[in-house]
Subunit: 389 residues, 2 copies
C-alpha cells in the first residue's frame, strides 16, 4: 500500500428534518447568501420554500442563481461569480445534486478571480481563495457533498474537466434521505451507477496495491448500492434504501476509500468525453462504458480482480477459472445496470453514433495514453466506444 | 436508523517516514511545544530522537512531560497543565498510545482552567478552551488519535471517567505502522481486543437500529482485526498487518461506525471499574469481560445478533438455531482472545478476586442500572464479574 494523507472536514447533518439546523450553520459564515439550484424541481417538492423560510428566520439576505445545468457550464460559473462580486456575497448555499454543488464550488473560487472561470478549471490560474460553501443534497450520486472537487463543462470547446482544491470542501452538507423520495427511476439508477463507478473506476479495479481493510469496505459500499438501488426504484419512499444510497454516495468519493492506493479513473476520462460532446447523464455514460471496458481489458492480469468482484458481490461460483469467473462477473454487472436498474445499454439507444469517437478518444488520452488498471491508447479507447454502440 | 451529525476534522499522515511532516505541521500552531510521553519506550526505539530532531529543525522550543501512566491520572494532567501555564505552551505533541493521547487531551483543556483537572473530567467545570494537540501514535488500540475523547483515572477515589469535547480532537495525527513493530505480543493482543471491543460494545451488539451499510463495514473492520492481529503477533514487522490494525484502530472509534445508531458501552463501563481499582490494561479487561457478558445476556432477543456475528466472522454454521449459533459464536470469540491472541482468560489469573465486586458493580451502574444491548442491574454486573473468576 502507499502512504497517504487523509482529512475530510465537512460537517454532515444526516436525517429527516435536519434542515432545521440550516439557518444556524449558515449565519456563522455571514449574512448575504447566494442560493444556487438547478431546473426548479426543488420548488415542486417544497424544498425551496422550506429553505427560504429557514434563511429568513435566521435573518439572512438571499440572492439566487437558478438554472444550473446537469453538466454545469463555465458560463454559469461566470454568472455566479458576477453575482458574488456585485452583491458582496458572504456564503454560498448549493441545493441540488452533484452538478449544482460542483458549479457552486467553482463559483466559490471564481468569486475571487477577475478573469474567465475556465482559467481556474484548466489550472491556468490557481485557486487562491474561496467563499465558504454549504450544500443541501437532493440526489445520491457524485459525492460532491463531501469532497473538494467539481467537474465543469465548456460546451464551446467540448471540454469537461475537474477542479480540485481543499478550499472547495463544503463546510456543512445536509443529507435528508426524504428529499430524494421524488427522484425518478432513471435518475436513481444513474446516480447509483455513478456511486458504483467511483469505486470500480477509481480504487477497486486497479493495478495499485491496496489496504486490505479498505478493499473489504469498498465491497460493502458496492453491496449496499447493489442491494438498495433496486429497492429505491421500486419503492421511492423507502427510507432505509434512500438513506443507505445517500451515505454510500458520500463515502464512495470522500477520500476514505482511496487511502493506501492510487486513484485511476479510466472510465471517468472516457465518460467525460461523452458528456462533453453529447451532454448525457454522467452515471448513464459510466454504466454503458464500464462492462465494455472490463471486457476489453480482460486478460490473465485483470481477471482475478474481476472474478473476485463477481464472487463477492454477485455470488459467482468461486471454483470457475479466473477468466470464466471474470466473464460471469461482467455479465452480472451488465444485467444489474441494464436489466435490474433499467438503464439504456448502448450509445445507439441514446442517440450517439461513431462520428466523434476518434477525436473523443484522443482527447480522453490527453495527447498520450490513459493510465489505469491497464494502459489504454487512443485506439483502445476508440475500440471501447465502438463496443458501446 | 437515527439522525446524526458527523464531523471528523483530524488530518492523518499515514505511512513510513510521514513523520518528516511533523515540524511543518506543528509550527503552524506556535513555537513552544510540550512533548508528552509515557515510560520511555519511545527512547528505546529511536522515535524520541527522530521527533526532537524534527522539532529542532523547525525551530521549535521543546518542553517535556514524561511518565504518563498506562491509565493516566488526573494528577499527571494537573502537572501538564502547570507546565503549559508556566511556560506559555502554544501546542501539545502527544507521542504514545491512547493513554498518552488521552492525558494530553485533558492537559489541553486543563491549561485554561485554574482548579483541579478532575473537575473537568467529572464535568463539574466545563471545557471552554483547549490548546491545539497533535499526536504520534505508537500503539493501535484506543482510537484516541482520531476522536475527541479521553479517559482519565483518579486513583484516590478509584474512579475512571471519559472526557469528551470537540476542542480535544487532535489537529493532526501521525500514523506510521513501522513505529509499532516493537509493540510486544501482549500489547498487540490487548490493543486488538480494545479495537474489537469498541465495535462490539459501542455499536455492533446493541438493541439500536442501524444503517445496513455501517453494519457491514463494522464486520469488515472486525474481520480485519481478527485476520491481522495474530499475524502481527507472529511477525511483528509485517507492514500489512501493522498498517491494517493501525487504520482499523482509528476507524473503530472516530464516529463513523456510530452513524445511524446510538452508542451503548456496557463492557466499557464494567472494565473502567476493573482498571480504576486494579490498574490493569484496558484491552485485556475488555477481552475477559466480553464473552462472559455475551453469555450472561444470551436469550432469544440477543441471540440473532450474536449468531450473525459468528456466521459472518468465524464461519459458524448458519443452519444452527439462534441460541446454538450464538453459543458457538461466543466460544469462537473466547478462543480468539484466549488461545489465538494468548490473553489471560480470567480475572483470577491476573490477581483479581471478588473483594470489590459489589462496590465496583454499583459504581459501574452509577447509582441506577447500565443501559445497553440489555439493561443490567448492579446484581447482574456483579454476576458477570463472578463469571470472570
Amino acid at each position: 500500500m502507499y502512504n497517504f494523507v487523509f482529512q475530510n472536514t465537512t460537517k454532515i447533518y444526516f436525517g429527516e428534518n435536519q434542515l432545521n439546523h440550516l439557518g444556524e450553520e449558515l449565519k456563522q459564515y455571514g449574512s448575504r447568501v447566494l442560493l444556487t439550484y438547478g431546473g426548479g424541481s426543488i420548488k415542486k417538492i417544497g424544498l425551496y420554500d422550506k429553505i427560504v423560510e429557514q434563511l429568513k428566520a435566521a435573518g439572512l439576505t438571499i440572492f439566487e442563481l437558478s438554472g444550473i445545468e446537469p453538466n454545469p457550464r463555465h458560463t454559469t460559473v461566470n454568472k455566479g461569480a458576477e453575482i458574488c462580486k456585485k452583491e458582496k456575497i458572504d456564503v454560498l448555499l448549493a441545493v441540488g445534486g452533484g452538478s449544482t454543488i460542483d458549479c457552486t464550488k467553482a463559483i466559490a473560487a471564481a468569486a475571487f478571480y477577475d478573469g474567465d472561470s475556465w482559467d481556474l478549471v484548466t489550472y491556468k490560474a490557481p485557486v487562491t481563495h474561496a467563499l465558504p460553501l454549504l450544500s443541501v443534497l437532493t440526489l445520491s450520486a457524485t459525492g460532491s457533498e463531501m469532497d473538494a472537487g467539481g467537474v465543469i463543462s465548456n460546451m464551446d470547446t467540448n471540454e469537461k474537466y475537474g477542479l480540485m482544491h481543499p478550499l472547495l470542501q463544503p463546510k456543512v452538507s445536509f443529507l435528508d434521505p426524504t428529499v430524494t423520495y421524488s427522484v425518478n427511476a432513471f435518475q436513481t439508477a444513474s446516480g447509483s451507477a455513478d456511486i458504483l463507478s467511483h469505486i470500480f473506476d477509481l480504487f477497486y479495479f486497479t493495478a495499485s496495491p491496496k489496504m486490505d481493510m479498505i478493499d473489504r469496505i469498498m465491497e460493502d459500499v458496492i453491496k449496499t448500492v447493489v442491494h438498495y438501488a433496486p429497492i429505491a426504484i421500486k419503492e421511492p419512499e423507502n427510507y432505509e434504501a434512500r438513506a443507505n444510497l445517500m451515505w454510500a454516495s458520500s463515502w464512495a468519493l470522500n477520500d476514505f476509500l482511496s487511502t493506501g492506493s492510487f486513484q485511476a479513473a479510466t472510465c471517468h476520462a472516457m465518460e467525460h468525453e461523452l458528456s462533453a460532446f453529447y451532454d448525457i447523464t454522467h452515471g448513464l455514460g459510466l454504466a454503458i462504458l464500464t462492462p465494455r471496458w472490463m471486457e476489453y481489458i480482460l486478460d490473465e492480469s485483470t481477471a482475478p480482480q474481476f472474478k473476485k468482484f463477481g464472487v463477492n458481490i454477485f455470488d459467482v461460483d468461486s471454483s470457475l477459472s479466473n477468466i470464466d469467473g471474470a466473464k460471469q462477473a461482467i455479465s452480472c454487472l451488465s444485467n444489474f445496470f441494464f436489466k435490474t436498474l433499467g438503464l439504456s445499454s448502448t450509445l445507439t439507444e441514446i442517440g450517439i453514433d461513431d462520428t466523434n469517437f476518434k477525436v473523443m478518444a484522443e482527447k480522453a488520452c490527453g495527447g498520450g495514453s490513459l493510465e489505469g488498471f491497464t494502459t489504454l491508447t487512443p485506439k483502445d479507447v476508440e475500440n471501447i466506444f465502438h463496443m458501446c454502440l
